[in-house]
């Protein structure tokens, strides 16, 4: 099982902030989340790509700098969806 954390802005759809779920990689995780939460896919995927406004981190590292959707997951990994806000 991996641990997944959603930002407040997901709660309208997910109704919860933290879940545990089985997934081998980020792509499988997303597929499972899309199946579980109605409306998430339409919001997160634009023109076949992940929206640039949400970053996905695995154990604190942006998946862009890992293997993207192919990033492998193992038990107890922490996956966080975080709004892309930086700088000022």
């Amino acid at each position: 099982m991996v641990k997944v954390k959603f930002p407040t802005v997901f709660v309208q759809i997910t109704k919860e902030r933290k879940i545990e779920i089985e997934a081998k990689n980020v792509k499988e995780l997303l597929d499972k989340l899309f199946e579980r939460y109605d409306g998430l896919k339409e919001r997160l995927i634009k023109d076949g790509e992940l929206t640039p406004f949400i970053n996905i981190f695995v154990n604190g590292e942006d998946i862009r700098y890992l293997k993207g959707l192919e990033t492998e997951l193992k038990d107890d990994d922490e996956i966080a969806f975080i709004p892309a806000i930086s700088g000022g």
Partner: protein, 405 residues
């Protein structure tokens, strides 16, 4: 009420004007939507003229309702006709706004004054931010004035000189292992867990960003309510350039000015926004930040795509000077105008120089460049590029020998 909603910049969905920053429909960033009829009825050039000598002279344009501002005196800084630098670069009408003279020595006082005032208005219990230095100093000072605890997240190994200010004002400075982007991610998570804390560049971001619009108002006011032909703005996240653009648009909306300003950006070589403008491609985040200009080194700029859009829409351009050019820019400004700016200011001057050399800025254009911070904070980073002192014995002959060189 001046502020009627927060509005998604992407899909347009509106939200009540609370401490929100992300759209729940498309996850896009939010911005403040104003009641322009209300503002137009209240604002006037005469009222501004009589107002305080700070950003709060433009209070009618700022997203604050009925609360006393936390005002350390941010803004309304020196507006200078840069004759010497202009001559050096071949410009007849070059002006500078010198924000190195703000209360905590950077333009961040403009945004922080608005954000901390908003935190007070919301009744928040603490304020915070992720910072590469300037924001930390500014937030700590304003938090002290507002009697609020401050939590500042900085990357591990940050130069002590950059956090002395934060520490002296009594902020809790949290040094996070990793880069700025790591510190920022953690701060975002903390903001998510503590909705009654105001993270100025995260959950107060829509309001915070508005503070920089005052640079546009000041520009126009000092030019007797005319718009400049072109401006040059340093870019990190791109938020500053976007805000200055919105400021000019606001002034047109209330019929204070008309015309268009060409918006140019400057960012250290290798960073995403300037790269995207120059290549014509998308703003793509970068992981490795090689520049010594830490205050502009943001790998994943939140407002990058909007800044690029504005630059292109207004017919501007972005330049990406090297570190060496930026250091030369710092020295050039210091030696021509007597202003010691931080490296980000050097990027602006170096970017301006390139824009003139490329013929993108005309000799007679009225140009305003924004000098956003003070050089003393990052003095150690340029010291090795300066001439050494001249060492002599305490004898008149030795000095005379020096001046005979």
């Amino acid at each position: 009420m001046k502020v009627i909603a927060l509005k998604c910049k992407i899909c347009g969905k509106e939200f009540p004007p609370k401490a929100l920053y992300t759209c729940d429909n498309c996850f896009g960033p939010l911005e403040v939507k104003y009641d322009w009829e209300f503002i137009a009825e209240n604002v006037s050039k005469e009222k501004i003229k009589k107002g305080p000598l700070s950003i709060w002279r433009y209070a009618d344009f700022l997203p604050i309702e009925n609360v006393d501002p936390i005002d350390l005196g941010a803004g309304y800084t020196r507006f200078i006709k840069a004759e010497n630098l202009g001559k050096e670069l071949g410009l007849k009408n070059l002006y500078l706004i010198d924000d190195s003279t703000n209360p905590t020595y950077s333009f961040k006082d403009r945004v922080v004054s608005v954000a901390v005032t908003k935190a007070k208005e919301f009744g928040m219990k603490a304020v915070g931010c992720a910072s590469t230095g300037n924001l930390a100093g500014s937030l700590s000072a304003h938090a002290a004035k507002a009697n609020l605890p401050a939590y500042i997240f900085v990357p591990r190994g940050i130069e002590k000189g950059k956090i002395i200010q934060a520490l002296v004002h009594g902020a809790n400075v949290i040094e996070v292992e990793g880069t700025y982007d790591d510190a920022n991610r953690l701060a975002t998570e903390v903001a998510e867990e503590n909705p009654d804390w105001g993270f100025v560049n995260i959950n107060l971001r829509p309001y915070y960003a508005e503070g920089s619009k005052t640079l546009a108002y000041e520009t126009a006011e000092h030019l007797n309510w005319e718009l400049p032909d072109q401006v040059v703005v340093p870019m990190a996240s791109g938020a500053l350039l976007c805000a200055i653009y919105r400021g000019f648009e606001d002034l047109k909306r209330v019929d204070f000015v008309d015309g268009e300003v060409i918006m140019n950006g400057a960012q250290p070589a290798g960073l995403p926004i300037a790269k995207a403008v120059k290549s014509g491609g998308d703003v793509i985040p970068v992981r490795e930040l090689k520049t010594i200009v830490h205050s502009l080194a943001i790998g994943n700029p939140a407002d990058g795509m909007f800044a690029k859009e504005i630059i292109e829409k207004t017919g501007g351009y972005a330049e990406d000077p090297s570190d060496v050019e930026s250091i030369e820019g710092v020295k050039l400004l210091a030696r021509t105008e007597g202003i010691f700016t931080e490296l980000a200011g050097g990027v602006t001057i170096a970017g301006l120089k390139r824009l003139v050399e490329e013929g993108r800025i005309d000799k007679s254009d009225v140009v305003v460049a924004y000098i956003t911070g003070n050089g003393l904070k990052t003095g150690e980073s340029i010291v090795s590029y300066l001439e050494d002192t001249i060492k002599i014995k305490a004898k008149l002959e030795e000095f005379e020998e020096v001046i005979s060189w």
